[in-house]
Symmetry: D5
Subunit: 162 residues, 10 copies
């Protein structure tokens, strides 16, 4: 189950009470949308200043939750600013929206790997030096979801660099 950490649950409730969308909150703080949503799910972390702006934006009073945005409190395991990513993911996903994202890998994963090799050589698309977005693209046959994964190519260290 998508069990959120308690401070994330508090964040979500404040957001819902405020009536703001992630897009609106992201715009208000001048940050990307997916990153902003990831903050609320406990999969990204920010500084105290941004945390405060978000709190103002959504009318959040709970101090533990505000600190949680900046990686303080229970989720931080005692290390200021540290988060443990991926804790609300289950393997494999059962929700249909999540499953479709996974199915894309099942069907096209090896093709992605092969094309990355052919275009870049031996290495990976970084999921750290990474940015991503979700857009709505109008289409007369039915609007489309466009998700962009944009990660730095990282070549495997050549043995000369070892």
């Amino acid at each position: 189950m998508a069990s959120l950490a308690p401070h994330c649950q508090t964040l979500m409730e404040a957001k819902q009470a405020s009536g703001k969308t992630f897009a609106e909150i992201a715009a208000a703080i001048g940050k990307p949308e997916v990153w902003t949503a990831a903050l609320f799910f406990g999969n990204a972390v920010t500084d105290a200043e941004t945390a405060a702006k978000i709190a103002t934006e959504i009318g959040l009073k709970d101090e533990v939750a505000v600190k949680g945005l900046a990686g303080k409190g229970p989720g931080s395991l005692g290390v200021d600013g540290m988060i443990v990513r991926g804790q609300n993911w289950e393997w494999p996903p059962k929700d249909p929206v999540l499953y479709r994202l996974y199915e894309v890998l099942v069907v096209y994963g090896y093709s992605y790997k092969a094309l990355i090799y052919e275009k870049f050589g031996d290495g990976i698309m970084s999921a750290i030096g990474f940015r991503t977005s979700v857009e709505r693209k109008a289409d007369p046959k039915g609007d489309r979801v466009v998700i962009t994964l944009d990660g730095k190519f990282l070549p495997y260290s050549s043995p000369e660099e070892w």
Copy 2:
């Protein structure tokens, strides 16, 4: 292990012997790159005409493999044109390139779900009415891999349509 069906293995060997990349083959047959790669991995299927063009392009003689491209032979389970997708995927992926794609979902999956909801409502990004690409984007700090997932939004049937 990424075990390919025998006819896919034959396709891959012919491709490698020809020295062609997936991008070049895709250009030669006028089809998208990821789709073309998926054909070789047994995760897409085409008609006899395209299969023939590919055979010409990569100098493939093996008739079983050519038929396989069009969904005939052992992989088709006796049904003309039918393929079983996803057979070379293992769960979870161990190869680092594949794992990073998976990690993107672990970290950002719920954010994608939330933004799709906020922008479209109750439904999914189709992985069937779907197109996708891998691009190399030049960047002075290091070139980037850009993968685009572009799927039709499908709303859940409203109860009035049941």
Copy 3:
């Protein structure tokens, strides 16, 4: 275990106290039976108006539960109207009623796939553009359960549409 979200548990208790069946509730609100049951299990979502009608029908006072029907509150992960489907399913099912449904796939799944291919071509039966029912059919040798799955056929995007 079939652990329901708290607001679903509240819904179920109100329903049971009211003595209404899912069929009666569905009739009262003019919606399909399986969809109505899915609402109570947290696998479908509705608008505030229908939620209110249901509350009246089963004498439900609990505001959190009424909001839950419309995808607000803890289960919504902060996004109005959003639900996470499939959370009470375990893999594989142990309850005999659920297992028999699963066994149908174990035994006939590939046959369904093959017949869909032969009758429609390369694509899927949508589980999103979908409607389904459970009926009791009288039979002198013993009445029968008839479950109908009725989903829109979705063809894989042809490479020309990519």
Copy 4:
């Protein structure tokens, strides 16, 4: 992977060479379509007479395969007419067509269970005293796949019958 028993693979190849669909073969032998397909996948068994008709229909010469249809040979584990069902199913399914069937259970499984209870009482829909079909239903918004599961209701033995 959908690995077929060797005699099933032979059956599939003969079928494909004959150009016949499962629907055509079923019509020729006067049996249901899903059942006929299940025979080819090794999930149903028939008598020698029907096996012979099928052989004629698809031009099958291989005696081992013909016997296999009647539950003789390697798959029968030494018992005339015995088959082991479900051997080509993997858990969970990765092919998108198979996955959608599974997703229907993930999302609506508990609703089916609840409606069966309300309409019949404590018992199951039999997957043994069972018949099922796949139909194409024309629809101006896109044709639909209609799968019908029709199983005898079996009540749990009351303690008086123990």
Copy 5:
């Protein structure tokens, strides 16, 4: 862990306080022993009258638990009389008594299948139209546990009956 539903835990405590065995309770209500034990474990369900008799027999006051015996309350998922069987089973069992029962299947399961085929044909021993008992058989070399599984044979529907 063998986690019982709360109302089952209450039943067990009342039973233990009463000093009655399952055999004594079964005799008092005129029902089979295994069925009676299954009631207490939440794997069988009864009517209100029998529930009341059991309550008297074991001095049970807790109304929720009495209702639970008749399939009302939290475990019923809102459907009068409905239970979800198998919830306290873990796969594979670790307790040695449970494991030995499982080991019998590991070692003799295919033999049972083969003998059922040879004696009855293509079908199953029903676990629904079923009764079972545990007896103590005196034996000078050490008394023996005799468990009897007695289920109706159900033949697979012949294709003519589809």
Copy 6:
């Protein structure tokens, strides 16, 4: 999959060619039916004399298979008479006949445990000092499969015996 060891496959083929049932073979060698079937599945072992009788009974010539019955050859791991039991069992079983046997444990396993405790005390039903049978019991409402598990009760060593 129910993959048999090669010598078991040979045994099964000879048995099928002979037209004998397990019951007939068991009668011919004067041994129990389930035990005889277990021999063929590689889950029991016998002496050379009985192996020879079986070979005669089913017209088996293959010496490796005859030796296999007596626990010699590849399956014995180099130890005369040693077998590795349970190798053709998969966890959980997918075949419906095998699954129903398993479901009996899912539903009644804890009840069996409780009744064994109440009738015998702290210990197990041995699966080693064990005998078992499958019988067909005539019944006007449909004949029944009766499987009897008859195992010696083994009490846990009391601490005084340690």
Copy 7:
């Protein structure tokens, strides 16, 4: 995680407060050490008299915990003296002490099986008619842990005894 049942946790706290080791408690009650430790972990059960002695020995007042030693209360599932063994074991073990015990089986398990066969024939070392100990053996190169498993050999029932 090694989650203990609540009454076991109480026992452990009383033991720790008393400053007694398992060896001292075992000596005080005249029972084996491993058995005594197993009692505290909920993997063995004793009579009321021994439970009382232990309570005195470790200054335990909590009545639920004392009863738990004699198999009464929540863990007993309503059956006087019954326990469910193995509930704090996880598969595979992650703690290094537990893992090494498991690794012994990974590396030497088949050797044990083969030597048991060669020395005894077809059967098992009972884990029920069993006693075991942990000793410290002085050794100039470093003291050694000596664990002894001492179980009755149980031969498989010969078919004559079925």
Copy 8:
């Protein structure tokens, strides 16, 4: 399944043909019995001299198998004398002899851990600096299997030694 590496299978066949037991072979080469058996199962390795003695003892001609005993050939992964232990173990074990060994850990594992702590402190019983044996102990109530695990205690490095 207990699949042996090919050279181990060859060793086993030669041993069986020679009629020697592991105990006899161990005596002939002057090594411990369990270690000798482990050699044959590919879970121990020896020098060329001992390998040659074993070959003589069991009349083994196959050079690949003799080399395998000394860690040369396919199993060595190219490193002289290197073996990969544990390859024929499956998790969890299904064979009853192997399962009982495992069950000992399920039931007594935490007790072993606790007693090792109390007698030695923070550390493990080494499975590397280790020796073990299987003995038959005569007992009028039935002979007993006695397995001894004898491993060096290894204390965790104190932080001063880091």
Copy 9:
């Protein structure tokens, strides 16, 4: 999820409130950094004196948490100084930092094994007689994380030592 034992959670909160890093705490108590961090995660244990120093260092008042550092209280399972290591590890890790450590084994594990063999012979790198550190190494192309694993080589007991 990285669920910490309650006393570890308390330790982490005190540490965070104190503003001290693990490196500072380690320096203050004169112990290695990784060991000090492991103490806080419940994967190492210390004596009462060091526990007291740490409490002073981070201003920790909670007595249960201080005792927990010295292996007393709930986590100790009743044995003074005993801890159960590895309880907050999940398999496989989902957090990207943890996953990368794991990926190093996936990619280089067999190479480590082979080089240990070639440099030392048949044995292991002890994870008990072990020390480890994390260092920041300045590098103009980007600073580097250097983790050192330093464990005593332990040779497998030669059969002469058994």
Copy 10:
């Protein structure tokens, strides 16, 4: 099982026949030892020139194997120079040498994560921009294995860089 790809098996055999260690081969080609070993296990890839040098060094004639070193042939999935890493790793590892490496993560993984955070901030140790070694360190108390992991720190992209 550590199943090597066929061309890796060939490489290993040539290496063993040549009597060279990985250290010697690495020195001869002027590359790091772990990288060189990884090449042989199919977890690293090199250019044709280095492949040729290795072939000379170990007397390798097999052209498929030489090409395999440079990422050509079956393992390359049709893409020149592409390899699929991690294919011989099993999860969890059973071999004791591999398991100890894994255990280091189980016990110290979270400590590594915490120290990386405190010393670098929010990011990972790259397993791509990575080098590693295995050294033998003399120690009078027993020589030690020292494994160094040296990876570039990669900070998570700040939202400003998205």
